[in-house]
Symmetry: C3
Subunit: 163 residues, 3 copies
């Protein structure tokens, strides 16, 4: 492999930001079918509360360990969607690089998500941070691992939608 190729294959902070931004956009546009495409095939996707995460308790609110599992989740979400229509809007804060490897970056990104109901009512939905490991696979940057750590302990509504 030439040096130029190696550079092309590395993951930069700008790559990670673009990935996060496109990811949030797909969720907010409600295009859940595109959501698994942001992950590697053997990915790890978890939603955990900050209290459990801090105590090192392994029990997540939600866990998928493959892209296929994410597709199953999308299907379940869409079938279960018997509520009135509503939309989400994710706002990302700056990303903190925690680890740099040859083929991956680990970054932490705080976020909030607000929800709007069909009648226009708007509310805070969830806050927390993403802990992401981003790798380049076949030229595309993807989430090899994504942990969504939420500040809220009430989790019932969280299970229904990808974050």
């Amino acid at each position: 492999m030439s040096a130029a190729t190696a550079i092309e294959r590395s993951v930069t902070v700008a790559d990670v930001r673009a990935l996060l931004c496109a990811y949030a956009s797909v969720l907010d546009d409600g295009e859940l079918g595109d959501w698994p495409g942001f992950f590697t095939e053997d990915c790890l996707y978890r939603i955990a509360t900050r209290e459990n995460e801090r105590r090192g308790m392994p029990l997540p609110i939600m866990l998928c360990d493959s892209r296929a599992g994410l597709f199953d989740r999308v299907e379940a979400t869409e079938k279960a969607n018997i509520f009135e229509p509503h939309w989400y809007r994710h706002i990302l804060s700056e990303s903190e690089v925690l680890k740099t490897a040859a083929d991956a970056l680990v970054v932490k990104t705080a976020f909030i998500c607000v929800r709007t109901m069909q009648d226009g009512a708007m509310s805070l939905f969830v806050s927390g941070y993403y802990m992401d490991e981003v790798a380049r696979v076949g030229g595309r940057c993807l989430f090899r691992s994504k942990t969504v750590v939420v500040d809220q302990s009430r989790i019932d509504t969280l299970i229904a939608v990808p974050l």
Copy 2:
């Protein structure tokens, strides 16, 4: 034109972010007289709901097709300002580059805006995204087109203020 000049004249993502940031700052500082200066003379400024935008319905909540029209709007807003004082704070998420042209970039940027009344009460005001076409005119980056797509369908208070 030399190559160096061409490079100076191109629009970078950093330029767009600086423009968006200064734009939000002017709105949040309440300096509405400076607002039209962020647009090209023959600009297009629209506020639309996400539902109408998604359906391709052309009816915007608000439409101005020139900088002069924006000045008119500022004047109307300031004359109509008979409410108790309040302030806005825009928070920008990351920007997604959707199109790159020789002299312009098209970017999508999610945002939320919170409002604070004089008594200190704070509330979510609006969420949505900007769809911006940014060009460089006379050395300055400006909005050639700005569409504010809002998640909320209740629009009465939205008409009063630039977003």
Copy 3:
């Protein structure tokens, strides 16, 4: 000093963003003991309302003029913490560079902070902007001066926690 050294010692926007991001992360993780370490020894830390700041009134809500003063504040906060547990989440908007000096940058960054109580209730806590002077001291970027300008005039709960 060689030119290469000078470049290494300059403060870039990326440095400032990384500092702001790490700063917010420490506050949101509740690691207040690490908070003073983000400031130079002879720093200036102020919290002010936007109305007082705009009128040029010098009375801040809070003022510390040294890192030692910040440590005192942390101690007072931790001793006074008799409330039910709660957590904050800061979301940073883009940063606007206002001044560039050889050894420092002055930047303005809008932010909001949401609060989550132990029962999971989530609310808007404060919005405003940071006005920061960031310098490099001993290889590390630190806040030489940080003014937190808040949009809200009700200040009682603000005094208790660093922002």
